[in-house]
Symmetry: C2
Subunit: 343 residues, 2 copies
């Protein structure tokens, strides 16, 4: 039995999408047990639409909701909100394996840090989405926005965290790690990236392959792309914008005339495979790495299938022993020796 908490009130499509997503996940994975956090009557009304195994689902009644406009540090003082109560339960109940929320990113990071807490030795948590790549697998982009300002030691920890995720979530041991920089040569980048390069090179616990460029996130050969949170966020969102533009142009062209409509019918299967291949949401949202349990932040616009994928991925990562793997890898780095002084 794997217990996963689902924030029923988080995201643009709440409560319908998180609840439908949870029901579907229960159906797919008989080992799952789900706790839905949110207003009891709202959740019950939604649940009434579905058949589900009631023995594996419970509701944690929470009377308050965090708004997307709430400032994160203030939001996490909303003690009765579904998000804050979820993080408290996650911290205090050893049986709860993980949390999925499509709510405020800032509040999720703040609550992860301040309520759940960081894994011992971790300086700052990081957000890590899985980006589809040309090899038909995923590149783990870490950090994609939790930390606008980074130091070299933080980037070294992002490399460890995402390598542990590659192992726990995707069965990739000794994941290939690249540092996202403005060129592949060793001397490239600003001082942050130059210093980080030198440190990553010295770390035996990861498999560092050198600098990579933005294009290598999708068409390169690494499993982990280490980024400062500022440029990682810009990379992720640039990719998102590019994907949306191309697919919208393709859609328009595919339906622009009778001839294109006929063509599209013949290409239906191919288009479908293409969509599956490029699906950002096949593994759900971004993993919040560095905190003491599995926390997945799903996109604010998540539909039910993304929530389902996030829940299944959370269970999968838990089975893969993410936290144990992070702790093990961290213990094998002599941080004081690697990064002297105040760093």
């Amino acid at each position: 039995m794997i217990k996963i908490l689902v924030d029923a009130m988080g995201g643009d499509n709440a409560p319908a999408a998180p609840i439908e997503g949870a029901v579907k996940a229960l159906e797919n994975d008989k080992e799952l047990y789900i706790i839905l956090a949110g207003r009891q009557e709202v959740i019950e009304a939604e649940l009434a639409k579905y058949n589900y195994d009631a023995a594996r689902l419970e509701i944690m009644d929470c009377r308050d909701v965090i708004d997307m406009n709430d400032i994160p540090t203030e939001a996490i003082r909303k003690n009765e909100s579904s998000l804050v109560r979820s993080f408290r339960l996650l911290k205090n109940d050893a049986e709860v394996a993980g949390l999925v929320t499509a709510g405020s990113t800032g509040a999720t990071i703040a609550a992860g840090q301040l309520i759940l807490g960081r894994i011992r030795g971790i300086k700052r948590p990081a957000l890590c989405p899985a980006i589809p790549n040309i090899r038909g697998s995923y590149t783990l982009l870490c950090d994609c926005g939790a930390n606008a300002e980074c130091k070299p030691a933080m980037l070294c920890q992002f490399a460890v965290l995402a390598s542990a995720y590659a192992s726990a979530g995707f069965g990739i041991n000794n994941a290939k790690v690249g540092l996202v920089n403005n060129g592949t040569e060793e001397h490239k980048g600003d001082p942050l990236h130059q210093q980080t390069y030198q440190l990553l090179k010295k770390m035996d616990v990861i498999n560092f392959e050198g600098n990579i460029e933005g294009r290598d996130i999708m068409i390169g050969d690494v499993d982990v792309a280490v980024c400062d949170g500022f440029s990682g966020n810009i990379a992720l969102k640039s990719i998102e914008g590019c994907g949306k533009l191309i697919l919208s142009v393709l859609k328009k062209e595919a339906t622009s005339s009778l001839s294109s409509k006929i063509g599209s019918l013949f290409l239906m299967k191919g288009f479908r495979r293409m969509r599956a291949r490029l699906d950002f949401e096949a593994v759900g949202g971004a993993l919040l790495l560095g905190v003491k349990k599995v926390v997945i932040k799903s996109h604010g616009s998540s539909k039910a299938r993304t929530i389902t994928a996030s829940i299944e991925n959370a269970a999968n990562i838990y089975r893969g022993n993410l936290i144990g793997k992070v702790e093990d890898m961290l213990s094998r780095v002599d941080w004081d020796n690697l990064i002297p002084k105040e760093e």
Copy 2:
């Protein structure tokens, strides 16, 4: 008559592509006069393949070539190289309007700065490509990689430079300017971007619309996306990688079976329009902004049609009076008052 210099030896496909591209540009634009810089005998052998108006083409015989492996600051000491001699001619001959090269980016920036020179008042030149956007026009991304380390004053100048480019190159006056940040709220970003936001807000000479995210480069509503050169480079290359991945998957699916091949035939026109719509190279390469003349750095892998587009765009930008517009806009900013002290 508009005289454009073309580096016949620069890029992966030199000398064939630059020379074919130049011949084609001469044919398209009867006002053009082209000077091909490179080894005379090599250029003559290539030119022998084409019919062209010999009265509008001359060769500047240069015996040396800059290699992609040369370190930029050393490369520009190669006095007899096609690139260095081109920049010297550009500086010294008032009749030469601009330069197109697909050679080393680093050497082009260094030569632009050290040989041709910056426009009075400009702190650092910037590279500015035109990215296709959802409105069917282009977003000017400035800087995309000339400056890995930036200060707020530099980003303010990038906004001015790219706004002048929007006017001179695309006829867009009062271009909408966005600052690429890790979120749209005013307080977002690291200190560099927070400070830059406050300065851009005060500048009357540009039309600042606030922060934008990476996705807005392609699907947003601004004409100019201001970036520090580090994250700008990562944004540009992430977009490139995403585009390549999607188009390669599409290509594979479109030819994967008999049915998809039939579908593709029906969709041929649509695919072609789509390709044109998403064509990064329709306006050629990135403009090197902030130097005293029009310099376009075409992608190292440029084919002939990209060189042609770069040449035509250089002439177009010259006709639009880029340098005059930059000088005029710069003169309307009270820099000492905007950015006090050592900034």
